[in-house]
Amino acid sequence: MKFKAARKTLAVISFLLAGLMATTTVITTENRDSISQTLGQSTIEVIDEGDGSEDTEYYKSDYETVSDLIDAGRSKADQVLEEGAVLLKNEDHALPLAKGDKVSVFGVTAYDSVFGGTGSGTIDAAEAVNFADSLKKAGFEVNPELEKDYTSEDWAQYKRSSEGTFGTTTLLINEAPWDVVEGAAGDSINEYGDAAVFVVGRVGGEGYDLSRKGGDGIDNNDGLGPDYLGLNENELSVLEGLKAKKKAGEISRIIVIYNYAGMLEGDVLQDPEIDAALWVGAVGLGNSATGRLLSGEASPSGRLPDTMWMDNAMNPVNVNFGSWIFDGAEELGVPTALGTGQYPSSTLASYVVYQEGLYLGYRYTETRYEDYVMNRENVGDFNYEDVVAYPFGYGLTYADFELSDVSVEKSGDRDYNVSVTVTNTSDTYSGKYSVPVYVSKPYEDYAKENEIQVPSVELVDFAKTDILAPGESETLTMTLDEKYFASYDSHKAKGYILMDGDYHVIVGGSAHDAVNSLIEAKKAGGAAVDASRMSGEGDASRVVTFHLQYDDQKYAYSDAVSMLDGESKVRVTNLFDFADINLYEGRGDNHVDYYNRDHWDQVSLDQENGHVTLTMTEQMAREEYAQLPAQTGKYGNQTGTPKQYKVSLEKDDVAYPAYEKDAGLKLIDMRYDENGNEISFFDPKWDTFMDQLSYDDTKLLVSNGWHMTEAVFSVGKPMTRDENGPNGFGGWAFSNGYYSNRGLAFRKEVANGHIKNGGYVEGAGPMSNPGVTITDEADPNGYRKMTGFPANGILAATFNKELAHEVGNIIGEDGLWGGMSGLYGIGLNTHRSPYSGRTCEYFSEDGLLAGMMGASESRGIEEKGVHVYNKHCALNDMEKNRHGVTTWVNEQALREIYLRAFELPITKGGAFNTMASFSRFGTQAAAACTALGEDYLRGECGMKGIIVTDAYGDMDGSQNTDPYFEIINGVLSGGSDIPDGSQPKTEGHFDKYEKGYGELAWAMRQAAKRVMYQTAWSNAMCGISTSTRFVSVTPPWQKIVYRLDIFAGILFAIGMCWTLLALIRERKAK
């Protein structure tokens, strides 16, 4: 009996173990590369068979050591905040304070500051400086009692917090109320009463928008509910308490700092008892600058990149911010239930309409203001000062600056040379000064007849001085491109046109200053103006007027050479009719009245019910389902594709590309020809190179892209590492800082002998690779993290393109030293509504400002062999409802705002790659949109690299939301080349197309070629020479799995043999 029990035990355990190991082996084999990458173990060994004389550092660093780079990065972050912080208010020169002043610093954010965003915008803030410390560094004496209280465990309850799950987060402001603060601080406030600095903080990030319902903000009865972007009761109580102290003479002045990436409501700041206010955005690692700004060591020179509204309920965009369910969707069989996963939104039946068209932000406020002052018909009631707290482009300085000698002269065919002299007229302060330039186009019959929207003023360029000492002058010159004078006419000309009429170029100031100057100029020209309606003053001398004739040919072709054929310029014409509900052929009875200068009185501010209502048509449903994962029809929480909408890819008789024709070419051979010339993407040598790949190689390349591109060792293509984020490299990929990957920091220490056994480890974090050891002699700075810059809104606020380029260079260097050849960024979506959760990643409400700054930054990054994946192209202007949302927008607004932010970084900054958004253009998923990927990005803009989807698991149903896209459609349409996801989930998608689908095979080939091309011209090639050889190896973890397999197999075999023998013996015994 004893042996029987033992035998049974062995048989059962060995069976369970064998089953477990078999399953483990299957799963780990399916995920071999991902596991290896996570564990930092190599699946390939790279051996250099040459004599080592080749210089394989193809992208040179400007720094000798990683420490030098880090110092430069931190310093640059400081400079960004110094130049980007916007002085909103400074009554009676309340600022700057005197060094050594004793100040009381209020607000939990002063001690627990907002450095960046959450999600992909996360930066490493370990070395960041909070506001209290920043002030101390600047030489102020900071109230220690308050610091003790705010940082005590007892006050943890007052810190910002959130409740709910990821996609349903309700953000709570909290804050310590005044009675608690006063009770704890006692007389210390009086003692440190030279100034009270009250820091108000808000946080935002990926996956959620900001609360307009729920939360603990003040409900100002605007229909929006408790408002996260207003102050809450506790914050207001602090302000009231401070005002009382000021009145009692215990504190001298009140300074408010807004520490949020976007705009809070500005009504509170109008309180005359608040002496000064500063917007600093999310401060990144640059917050030392705040103290210097308050002390006057530095002078603010930032300008607002967005309109700061008095009350966000006055912003009509918010009426159509969010998503709604199509009427009639259920009847058409389209599910309207919300997802059960992290994103409780409908992905198939939801829509949003950009009803404002071009009239977004200042384009609305300033245009309606001008029309109000000019007393145009149907303008409605519009008191500017009740609507706008601080306009786009607004920003004070400590010094006083004067503009003089304004001149704008046409030069050549399409350039306008702007010249303006900036003089620092103050006798105390030095500082920089930026000069925006705006254009005002004619709003005449042609525009009215063809539904062309013409804002009062639009930014067309900008420049910034160096630091000007008191009395010093600098003449700024800019070359305006007349292309930005053109309007997109999607109805008649179907292209960019110059309309007949007067064009006013307005130099300097905020958008509101520009409009006032424009009004003055028009008044001088005899136009009727109702001066009583004006807010502020203008200066007609800053306006230069040109008359242009109608022209629909001058900008009919793209400036860039198309990357579809490498030689032609593309005819620019309507590409996105399907995204404009008024032009979409399947619109049914739907129609949208976009905002119109002739009917301002029709603009709704009804935040509850003012949104556009649309009805789903059968064509919409059919087109949406055509993009779903075709194989299963059953995903997530829904019942799958209704029969009537099921489509599958049709077979064709197109011949497949050639495969596995070895020509002895490696990727390193595809950079330069024998004469040292760069090999073009269209060179026939690329065909020879690509013919070497197998179908499986191609499938691998286009199926996997989770923060990387796949390796194909047979042709010497290394894995690339691509990582977030938009404000500098951050996130989980850098647990060992600059040593996390085989970047320059790692390679240098290997060469120095400070890293042992640090040979080439492909696609892995070498630090955790068994056998790799870093000696104590290695630079400890290598473990530090990359520089996280202030949020992009602050960078935009600098209005300094050169600075953006320098920031780009630092990010590029961080990639070079940290082993990253791709950046999931920069973020170029639009600040459409202040309630977008992800404001921290994006630049502005203005597409040109975002585009020009983005172009400079992209160029800086690309110079270091790091390819940007500018994201999220496009219309990803909200978070909670971003998945699959059907977005309706007219083509003029799309091109002149939302796509311009992506266009300029490609055409002016050489941005290589793009990340497609989760959104749809009309019914077409951005990642499967031929018009966007092929016709626009590659055709018109000449984008050279690849398009990656956004997180693929959010699109194919893996996240328990309805699926709405699959990579097959992305590759086939040219809308995307790779998924931001990895095998085996996506790899399987291509399995069944190995025969009979030649068209898809060629699309796969083209996408794979682009992956190869962008890799060849990236720093991923550093360390690879013409004599480098790749050898496949089994990673150590997999060896362990195999050994356990053998052990379990032997045990199982023993158990089975023993059982068999027992049965035989038993039978014999019978």
Partner: protein, 139 residues
């Protein structure tokens, strides 16, 4: 029924209960996962195959092999389930999937675990009454 079970061992009776539980587990699994992409019909197939084999063994009076067949079917079913859902589990554990595991996930795991645990117990329990075994010369 009562008569049929009159001379059966407690182990055999537990095997019948386990078979019943196995059927319930299959139903629960189908109810929870059939409309998702984490469904493995292979899991259902091997579990049903295990149940059918168990029935055949019982009908052919090969009682002592019945729990083994049931265990093989249910355990393999569990492994198929694991293979189908591991991507989801990994995405939750790594934080890619932020929603966490729903109650239904734990319910399903509980049913599988209980079924397999009972199967293992049955393997170790005598399936035939001592007298019957003795009369057949079994040990």
């Amino acid at each position: 029924m009562k008569k049929a079970l009159q001379n059966k061992s407690p182990g055999f009776r537990l095997t019948l209960v386990t078979m019943l539980l196995s059927i319930v587990t299959i139903c629960v699994y189908i109810a929870i996962y059939s409309s998702t992409n984490y469904m493995s019909w292979g899991a259902v197939g091997v579990m049903i195959a295990g149940l059918v084999l168990t029935c055949v063994l019982i009908l052919t009076r090969q009682y002592r092999f019945a729990p083994t067949a049931l265990l093989v079917g249910d355990y393999m079913g569990f492994l198929f389930f694991a293979h189908a859902i591991y991507f989801y589990i990994s995405s939750v554990i790594t934080g890619i999937q932020f929603s966490g595991f729903p109650l239904s996930f734990y319910v399903n795991i509980m049913f599988f675990s209980l079924t397999i645990a009972l199967c293992i117990a049955c393997v170790f329990l005598r399936q035939t009454p001592a007298a019957e075994t003795s009369s057949k010369g079994g040990k």
